[in-house]
């Protein structure tokens, strides 16, 4: 596989893997929890790397995901105490975890490529360099296969639990009254978000991964009236945006993940302007009469 094709595929697959759970984060109004998770995975990644010395180890992925989950569980615990309200609990938990990660990076790994800049914005092309060879055949970047696995995992989760996931997102109290284990579904979703963020870390970094998770879903939210269509539109925007964003960055000779995030931002701005102007037009009898 040529290097260019491998990297383009990596960009598209990463965008798809992120956009799927992103849909539910946007609908839960907890988009910025992705921010917290994406920062809190850092100490897990560093510790995992310290223990395995292998950046592609699945243990590293799981350890990092668990440290990302600490933000979710920790902030939920603080919220339940009733002492701290709003999103302050997240703000209390994740900067501390991220800082631990930064200190570990600067103490232990000042000689490896896991530097603080890459941590923030990632480097798609660097991630694309480590090629996977099967039986002497070059089959593309190793990261591509990790991201594809995560995308399949996310797709399977959403497909299998779709009705219950939809209801638990829309009306958790009613869902629980039907006996649906909303807490378990929530934790599973958050674990998947953390796994996805960790896997996408090399490609997009801790900050730009938020754009990949949140922006396609937010654009699709403005365009659709049904969840199934929202997910479909989210995927179209994720694929199209990452593809276009890649070439934008390629021709500008700029960081790829930044190109993708900028392009997604442009798509959102266009959708926002279009739907705002449409909404000012009266839409008919029933709405006008109210």
């Amino acid at each position: 596989m040529s290097f260019l094709v491998g990297v383009v595929l990596l960009a598209v697959v990463t965008a798809v893997a992120c956009a799927l759970p992103g849909t539910f984060m946007v609908l839960r109004r907890s988009s910025m929890l992705v921010d917290g998770i994406s920062h809190a995975v850092l100490p897990g990644i560093v510790l995992g790397y310290f223990l395995t010395r292998n950046p592609d180890s699945p243990w590293l992925l799981l350890g990092a995901a668990l440290s990302g989950l600490l933000v979710v569980l920790g902030s939920e615990y603080l919220t339940r105490t009733g002492l701290i309200a709003g999103d302050a609990p997240q703000g209390l938990v994740f900067p501390a975890l991220f800082s631990v990660g930064v200190i570990l990076v600067s103490l232990e790994f000042s000689d490896v490529h896991l530097d603080t800049h890459t941590v923030l914005v990632g480097d798609l092309n660097l991630a694309g360099f480590r090629q996977l060879t099967v039986g002497g055949l070059d089959v593309g970047p190793a990261a591509l296969y990790v991201m594809a696995g995560v995308a399949v995992l996310n797709g399977a989760f959403v497909w299998l639990f779709y009705p219950r996931l939809k209801l638990a997102t829309f009306d958790p109290a009613f869902a629980r009254s039907l006996g649906i284990p909303t807490g378990l579904l929530n934790t599973a979703l958050m674990l998947l978000v953390a796994v996805t963020v960790t896997a996408a870390f090399n490609v997009a970094g801790a900050i730009l991964v938020i754009a990949l998770m949140v922006v396609p879903a937010a654009s699709a939210f403005l365009l659709t009236k049904r969840l199934s269509r929202m997910i479909a539109v989210t995927l179209v925007i994720a694929v199209g945006g990452s593809f276009a964003g890649f070439w934008l960055a390629y021709f500008l000779d700029a960081p790829t993940s930044a190109g993708m995030a900028v392009f997604q931002g442009i798509v959102f701005a266009a959708v926002f302007v279009a739907t705002q102007s449409r909404r000012t037009v009266p839409v008919g009898g029933a709405a006008a009469a109210r």
Binding site: P163, L167, F174, S177, G179
Partner: protein, 249 residues
């Protein structure tokens, strides 16, 4: 032989954080009645429903439905939450929301099929919102939203309905439609518990009443329990000739 009540609550206490809301609530809901839970703001009316369903963890007490714990008879108990508790911008249609009432009893890998579609269609008709089925839920009026939630609870055809403020924010037409459904349910031998805040309509809608203010001040058939004296105690109104009591008739 006496029939087991649709619901019996014994010694139920619950709190939000460190604030106690319910203290030692005892309540029996006979089968086939419409029971109104009435009381001032902050009396714990909504919390009572949620604690009965285990949505707010009770500190103490026991709740039985048809003589058994909730986990054994979940399909016979339907809950209608307050309409204000959800995000009405959620990308979903009226028909979609009503179908959600069937999700709890769907196999994990199944999708709603013919049976679920038929039940959904019936519930939409019953609540007079069949013509709104394809609307996005954000386009509905307050009364229409309540009817969507009512239909979602009807769709699983439970024997006991726990409804949190079904008349909040409704216009006359929706009110009529909801009352019609409640009376239909009573005629069919179902049991309904509504959290209600309008004292003036208690006699019209309810056969039984529970006056709540942290704990049950009085409960029983409307004629026996819904007396000016009991209402005064529930609302902490001291003077006997307060004009506010005129509304209860």
């Amino acid at each position: 032989m006496t029939e087991t009540p649709a619901c019996s609550v014994r010694g139920l206490s619950a709190a939000y954080g460190t604030t106690p809301v319910l203290r030692d609530v005892d309540l029996e809901v006979p089968r086939g009645v419409v029971l109104g839970v009435v009381g001032p703001n902050g009396a714990g009316k909504s919390t009572l429903l949620k604690a009965m369903l285990g949505l707010v963890p009770p500190l103490a007490g026991q709740v039985e439905f048809f003589g058994r714990p909730l986990s054994r008879v979940r399909a016979r108990v339907g809950f209608m939450p307050q309409a204000t508790t959800v995000d009405w911008d959620f990308p979903t249609t009226v028909r979609d929301v009503v179908t959600m009432g069937t999700y709890g009893f769907l196999g994990w890998l199944r999708r709603p099929g013919r049976v679920e579609r038929e039940r959904t269609g019936r519930a939409l008709e019953q609540c007079g919102i069949a013509d709104l089925a394809r609307r996005q839920i954000g386009e509905l009026s307050g009364g229409q939203r309540q009817r969507v939630f009512l239909a979602r609870t009807l769709v699983s055809e439970p024997d006991l309905y726990l409804m949190d403020e079904p008349f909040a924010g409704v216009d006359a037409r929706s009110q009529q439609a909801i009352v019609g459904v409640l009376h239909g349910l009573r005629q069919a031998g179902r049991t309904v518990v509504i959290v209600h805040h309008d004292l003036a309509t208690v006699r019209d809608y309810c056969d039984h009443v529970a006056l709540l203010n942290g704990t049950v001040v009085a409960s029983g058939p409307v004629d026996a329990a819904f007396t000016p004296e009991n209402v005064r105690r529930a609302y902490d109104v001291a003077t006997a000739d307060d004009p506010f009591l005129d509304v209860i008739g």
